[in-house]
């Protein structure tokens, strides 16, 4: 009886002890990896400084608040009304005076050389047109080369004209409709509120993938991979052990970037920080897995870095909805964007920070991230095991 009991209890015990071994080996590999990180201070500095620099550069440079459009006004009417009308363009805050005044003769040349963005011509008869019913056209020449700027300039000009006319009309008659506008989440319509949370996603993805992509490639280049493979550690243990320290590093990076977003760019935080951390963890794990997968595929550190930049930077910036709306893309690219982890995390971080979204809304994105992460990790382990044989 006693012997039987001993036999029975032996099996679960051995499974348990294997589990402890598992953890221990992964932990050992992790501590070896930490030593690698600490021994290379330049890379560590880069890993911490780069996200901060990138936050500042991207945060300030990517900005769609189309202000300061340089508009030259050629006022041929030169009446009180025409001057008042022209002034309303500059008062609006969307347009600024160009550095040099624009005349009818040099308007084309200035547009062509990129010295002004648009030219408004007020022909004679503007003041009379306001009183009478005769048709009158203002001329607006726009440098269309930057389509985005041209669209904004055109919209603003129409809006300013509409407001001006409405003011004239309501001076004599009661308007029929009064519209009050309420902007949810971002009262001042600052585009930094849109872009900076997305930036956190882009930077986290890039740094994480870059960090882990070199780990296994480094072992290959220095010839220590064989040593690692002959050790009793299993592929899972090696992969997990290699990822663990970088999760911590990437998390520090993420918190730094987030801190910058909150302090420097004054982005509001309306949701649950805990939820963001939880989803951030899944996202970082997915990003690190991409790096590990790349690392198993290439042979040198240089190729690993190039590949991880190629795989993370362009998709995370262009195909994720960070700057450009995915809905406006051709269908094929929309399909590709579904494979980009940043796409899901951008929805999550924008939702939590700006709109205070909770898990009932964001679980779809979280599930997608989780699936991507598991598939990538599985592929990495499988590739690594292939190498073993």
């Amino acid at each position: 009886m006693l012997v039987m009991a001993g036999q029975i209890s032996k099996k679960p015990l051995s499974v348990l002890s294997a589990g402890i071994d598992d953890l221990k080996r992964a932990r050992l590999i992790a501590s070896k990896e930490i030593r690698h990180i600490l021994r290379d201070p330049i890379s560590l500095i880069i890993a911490v400084l780069m996200p901060i620099m990138m936050t500042l550069i991207y945060g300030y440079a990517i900005n769609l608040d189309m202000k300061n459009i340089e508009l030259g006004i050629i006022d041929l009417d030169n009446t009180f009304q025409s001057r008042e009308f022209g002034e309303s363009f500059y008062v609006s805050g969307y347009f600024v005076r160009p550095k040099q005044p624009v005349t009818l003769a040099d308007a084309d040349k200035l547009l062509q050389g990129g010295k002004v963005d648009a030219v408004l011509t007020i022909r004679p008869g503007f003041a009379e047109a306001l009183a009478g019913a005769e048709k009158y056209e203002l001329g607006l020449l726009i440098d269309g080369s930057d389509g985005n700027l041209a669209i904004a300039a055109s919209n603003y000009a129409e809006m300013i004209l509409a407001q001006y006319i409405l003011k004239q009309i309501t001076a004599v008659a009661q308007r029929a409709v009064d519209m009050s506008v309420q902007v949810a989440y971002n009262q001042d319509l600052k585009s930094s509120h849109h872009f900076v949370p997305g930036l956190v996603a882009v930077i986290l993805m890039m740094i994480s993938a870059l960090l882990t992509s070199v780990t296994i490639a480094r072992e290959k280049e220095t010839g220590t991979l064989e040593q690692l493979l002959t050790s009793p550690a299993t592929p899972q243990e090696i992969i997990v052990g290699k990822i663990l320290p970088y999760i911590a590093l990437a998390f520090i990076d993420g918190l730094l970037v987030l801190l910058f977003a909150l302090i420097v760019f004054a982005i509001p935080f309306n949701g649950s920080g805990l939820l963001l951390l939880l989803f951030g963890f899944i996202y970082v794990a997915a990003a690190l897995s991409i790096g590990v997968l790349i690392s198993t595929l290439v042979s040198t550190m240089q190729l690993a870095m190039m590949a991880s930049l190629l795989v993370t930077l362009l998709p995370s910036v262009i195909l994720s909805g960070y700057i450009f709306d995915v809905r406006n893309m051709p269908y094929a690219l929309q399909l590709v964007s579904r494979l980009v982890p940043a796409r899901y995390f951008i929805v999550i971080i924008r939702g939590i920070m700006l709109k205070g979204s909770d898990i009932t809304v964001l679980w779809v994105e979280a599930a997608a991230l989780m699936a991507i992460c598991l598939v990538l990790l599985g592929l990495a382990v499988k590739r690594f095991r292939l190498k073993l044989r």
Binding site: A61, M66, D146, A150, I151, V177, Q187, R350
Partner: protein, 365 residues
């Protein structure tokens, strides 16, 4: 001297062509960038999803509703009756904006007062939100004009020059060409020199009777050629596949590109004196490219940036080159119009080349 330089060019060209990975990167990089950016980069705001909450359902409110529906600016979604949680719709990403016509709208109009409506917009995306507000005020403005019967027949006749359909791709392709020329010239230069040093072949070259200047010239000329190939490849795809226009002078474009090239080549050489490994060299080059791209007006206009950053962009050579490439290809700008940019590039090129030559020959001693 010329013979020596051409011999070095030959050596470098063989080295570039022999490495299949490098060749692939040189050809694939413009292709991938062009196709991803050419198709995905689009600032257009279309189909703003608008939820219409008509709580009154009178003749007047329907009329207003139909002017929101019928103008093609909004994609109207009718919410289920009774559900008024507009913000939940924003959070679940069902609609982007909502218009609410309150009960009493028609009564107010009949009484000679202004009927009140509310327009709520998801401001998380500031750009599309401001466009939505613009569209809504236009609808209200037209409605007012109709109802009051008063009319001031003032309108704007607009002409968009150079890119009448406001296609983003017309703007992006010349920009990508400029960025690629910069990146390739800089990366190849910096990495080639560092590689020779890493492998110890730089010393071998140094002990040959070749003068340092010939050595540098030969290397730089090769990568300048590769840069030109890259530029041409990019523009060629732009014209044949994306059908972007080119109205300016090819000769001028290549001449000014030649002047510009000294700057990225000089920066590449400077990097090679700073970096100890190819990895570091690539990292520096890549970091500079991103910086130059973002603050050079590649994606978004410089005038949108804070004043301090705008001053900083004056030190960015790519800024001037982007103005030149876009100006020549899209607007047919002439050298007279681009004189300030040309002079800036000439100054940058001279300075970069002098500094890097001095630093390089110092290290070589």
């Amino acid at each position: 001297m010329l013979r020596i330089v051409s011999a070095i060019i030959k050596k470098e060209a063989i080295q570039v062509l022999r490495d299949p990975m490098m060749l692939r990167i040189i050809i694939l990089m413009p292709l991938i960038q062009l196709f991803v950016m050419g198709y995905a980069v689009n600032f257009e705001v279309k189909d703003i999803r608008l939820a219409v909450y008509d709580l009154e359902r009178s003749a007047d409110s329907r009329l207003l509703q139909s002017s929101f529906v019928g103008n093609g600016l909004f994609a109207v979604r009718r919410p289920e009756p009774g559900i008024m949680d507009i913000h939940r719709g924003f959070r679940e990403n069902i609609h982007d904006a909502a218009v609410v016509i309150q009960n009493g709208f028609a009564r107010d109009i009949a009484a000679g007062k202004a009927g009140r409506i509310g327009f709520v917009v998801d401001g998380a995306n500031a750009f599309s939100a401001s466009v939505a507000i613009g569209y809504a005020s236009r609808v209200v403005y037209h409605f007012n004009r109709q109802r009051t019967g008063l009319d001031i027949p003032l309108s704007i006749r607009e002409k968009r020059l150079y890119n009448p359909e406001s296609k983003t791709v017309n703007f992006m392709v010349p920009g990508i060409a400029a960025v690629l020329l910069t990146m390739i010239a800089m990366m190849l230069t910096s990495m080639a020199i560092v590689r020779e040093r890493e492998r110890g072949t730089l010393e071998q070259l140094m002990v040959t009777p070749l003068p340092v200047s010939a050595l540098i010239m030969g290397k730089v000329a090769t990568f300048a050629l590769v840069g030109f190939v890259e530029l041409s490849l990019c523009l060629l795809i732009g014209f044949t596949w994306f059908r972007i226009p080119f109205v300016g002078s090819w000769g001028l474009l290549y001449f000014l590109s030649f002047i510009y090239l000294f700057t990225p080549l000089g920066i590449g050489m400077l990097i090679s004196t700073l970096a100890r490994t190819q990895q570091q060299a690539m990292f520096f080059a890549w970091f500079f490219s991103v910086f130059a791209m973002l603050t050079g007006g590649f994606f978004t206009p410089i005038s949108n940036m804070p004043q301090v950053v705008q001053y900083l962009t004056l030190l960015n050579p790519l800024r001037y080159y982007l103005t030149i490439v876009r100006g020549i290809s899209m607007k047919g700008a002439t050298i007279g119009m681009l004189l300030p940019e040309t002079l800036a590039l000439a100054a940058f090129g001279t300075a970069m080349l002098t500094i890097s030559y001095l630093k390089f020959s110092k290290r070589a001693d």
